[in-house]
């Protein structure tokens, strides 16, 4: 048996990892990233002559566990047609037995990298609102993301915000439910996942890997109930916790802030209250829906009172001043001028 030097072993590992795209419409371009389940490559769709992102498992999965999860991710993405969610194009199995799916190739930066180029708090909050829009849409379709974090959000070269990596997504209910209920953003009531024996279920059943007691997610962004592995009881408020952590990150005041960032800024009480309410340890203390969280952030941006914070009369006055500062100053200047005119006329 011929001795394989270290270099040859490494080269073989590399060679064997390359997905076999023979017989597909795709041509491999380069490796882009490695995720929790597999590797993402840039590939060219030779029929449509466009660049796509191809996500492939890095191991065959005969018992279907990881493969089912990847297929689920593709099917979840397929049901979430929203400008803020990366669209899926195709799903299948390669010649080498690995499951893959292709999606839009997003040219841009991850939010944790992009954020350094956005110094304005207002702009950061607007970015956050676009994330909220996408997540609220997913919740309305009965899908929990369960891994919302800056690394899973991409900002495209035209400023588009896309929520990525739905590999840990959990279905709150099946799409077969009445349309009126599914499309109602307020109808994001938790329901038990569909049973594997249900013949109408189009998405592979939940695997044992996501069963009760299994902890999946990212520390710092994962809700306490998710960290406990309390999978059965997760609902939209778990994602709301993650959004609260994300908001803190965007405002530069959490423990996940990238090294090199400037010191923690002092947040206004209203923003601090929004973050605290969204990321409250107890689900019952959080916003009940992402829409309400987004509305509170919008109210803050508009200079209105936020639901998360009860203002003192002084704070109300200060906010009133900040909101109508121009008119107040204008009226003040006008009144001052009148007073001065009267003063000089009666002298």
């Amino acid at each position: 048996m011929k001795f394989l030097p270290d270099k040859a072993v490494e080269r073989l590992r590399e060679a064997a990892e390359i997905p076999d795209l023979a017989g597909t419409r795709y041509r491999l371009l380069e490796r882009v990233a490695r995720g929790g389940m597999g590797v993402v490559y840039a590939a060219e769709d030779e029929k449509l002559r466009r660049r796509v992102a191809l996500k492939v498992l890095d191991a065959p999965s005969e018992d279907g566990d990881l493969a089912n999860r990847l297929i689920r991710e593709a099917l979840v993405l397929a049901r979430l047609e929203h400008p803020g969610i990366v669209p899926v194009h195709d799903v299948g199995t390669l010649n080498d037995g690995r499951v893959f799916y292709t999606m839009k190739f997003v040219q841009g930066q991850r939010l944790d990298q992009y954020i350094d180029t956005v110094p304005s708090v207002t702009e950061r909050l607007r970015l956050f609102l676009r994330v909220c829009d996408a997540v609220a849409f997913a919740h309305a379709r009965g899908v929990l993301h369960r891994d919302l974090k800056p690394a899973n959000i991409m900002v495209g070269s035209f400023g588009e915000v896309l929520v990525m990596d739905w590999g840990l997504a959990k279905l709150l209910r099946d799409e077969a439910r009445p349309r009126s209920q599914a499309s109602d953003p307020d109808a994001t009531i938790f329901e038990k996942p569909a049973q594997s024996g249900d013949s109408n279920v189009s998405i592979p059943p939940f695997s044992s890997a996501t069963g009760h007691g299994t902890v999946m997610g990212t520390p710092g962004y994962m809700s306490p109930e998710q960290a406990r592995g309390d999978v059965e009881r997760l609902d939209v408020r778990s994602d709301i916790f993650s959004l609260g952590a994300l908001l803190r990150f965007l405002l530069g005041c959490d423990s996940n802030v990238a090294a090199g960032a400037t010191g923690k800024p002092r947040l206004s009480k209203a923003l601090e209250a929004i973050c605290s309410k969204a990321a409250a340890p107890t689900p019952a203390d959080r916003y009940p829906t992402v829409t309400e969280l987004g509305q509170d952030v919008s109210r803050y941006l508009d200079g209105l009172a936020v639901a998360a914070h009860r203002e003192s009369p002084f704070e109300k006055l200060a906010r009133f001043y900040r909101r109508y500062r121009f008119f107040i100053l204008l009226i003040g200047a006008y009144l001052l001028m009148r007073v001065l005119i009267l003063f000089f006329m009666h002298r």
Binding site: M1, D6, A15, S61, G64, G97
Partner: protein, 252 residues
């Protein structure tokens, strides 16, 4: 590409080889022997080298211990005691080796054994030669972690070497010797600057033929390596983990 009826892995990776854990407990003596041979083929080199380094044994003694260990595996049915839920077969075997060598020391036994694994050619001279060329930080040798890492690395080398040999046989059977030569030139011995075009020129074929030949060889290599790996794992879960560890890499 199959785009419907997702049966991941399914027919692409038929379990042609039974796990050695199951096979070694078979009532069929021939199957038991085959399982032990497979285990021995994949593990004798890492175990021999590990004994040489970890236990600092001279070559001849390490050879006896290596052969004795595999006899011990069979006699004491050590594989039957392995619980895939608790860890990896590789780690279990390494711990068994430690225990075996330690017990041999205490009992003061040392005898030439190995009759039951006569079908596997144990080229100790070659292993010794490889060991001399092994790159290891001398300062790190005494640490347990570095030895574990060394064992893992040697095991992977052994697995890949067996897969390459099997690929060579497959190419020979199918009359694809040139494909293997291309694979050997590019993936095994390839210098960093060698290109498909250069190989195409050398073999007087089109560059696309080189691409196709290499794609086929890599696919087959991967398939063979995974089949071997599956055979050497105690459970499907362990196999999935090992497959990811074997072929998974961090992006550069």
């Amino acid at each position: 590409m199959r785009e419907e009826g997702f049966q991941p892995g399914g027919d692409r990776f038929p379990p042609t080889r039974r796990s050695v854990i199951e096979a070694v407990g078979s009532i069929d003596a021939e199957e038991r022997e085959r399982a032990l041979e497979s285990l021995c083929a994949a593990y004798w080199r890492p175990i021999y080298k590990y004994i040489r380094l970890r236990w600092n044994r001279p070559a001849e003694e390490a050879q006896d211990l290596t052969q004795g260990f595999f006899v011990e595996v069979l006699e004491r049915e050590l594989l039957g005691k392995f619980d895939a839920k608790k860890g990896r077969l590789r780690t279990y075997l390494r711990v068994c080796v430690d225990s075996f060598v330690s017990n041999e020391d205490k009992a003061g036994r040392r005898q030439k054994r190995g009759g039951n694994i006569a079908h596997v050619a144990l080229d100790f001279a070659a292993a010794e030669e490889e060991l001399r060329g092994a790159v290891m930080d001398p300062a790190a040798i005494p640490s347990q972690e570095s030895l574990e890492e060394f064992f893992e690395k040697e095991w992977l080398r052994s697995l890949f070497s067996l897969a390459v040999e099997e690929l060579r046989d497959l190419c020979s059977t199918r009359g694809r010797e040139r494909t293997f030569r291309l694979f050997e030139a590019y993936d095994l011995e390839g210098h960093d600057k060698i290109s498909y075009e250069q190989l195409a020129k050398e073999y007087a074929i089109a560059a696309t033929d080189v691409t196709n030949a290499l794609a086929w060889a890599r696919r087959e290599f991967r398939r063979i390596a995974l089949e071997r790996l599956r055979e050497l794992c105690g459970s499907e879960e362990e196999f999935q983990r090992e497959a990811r560890a074997t072929f998974g890499r961090n992006p550069r």
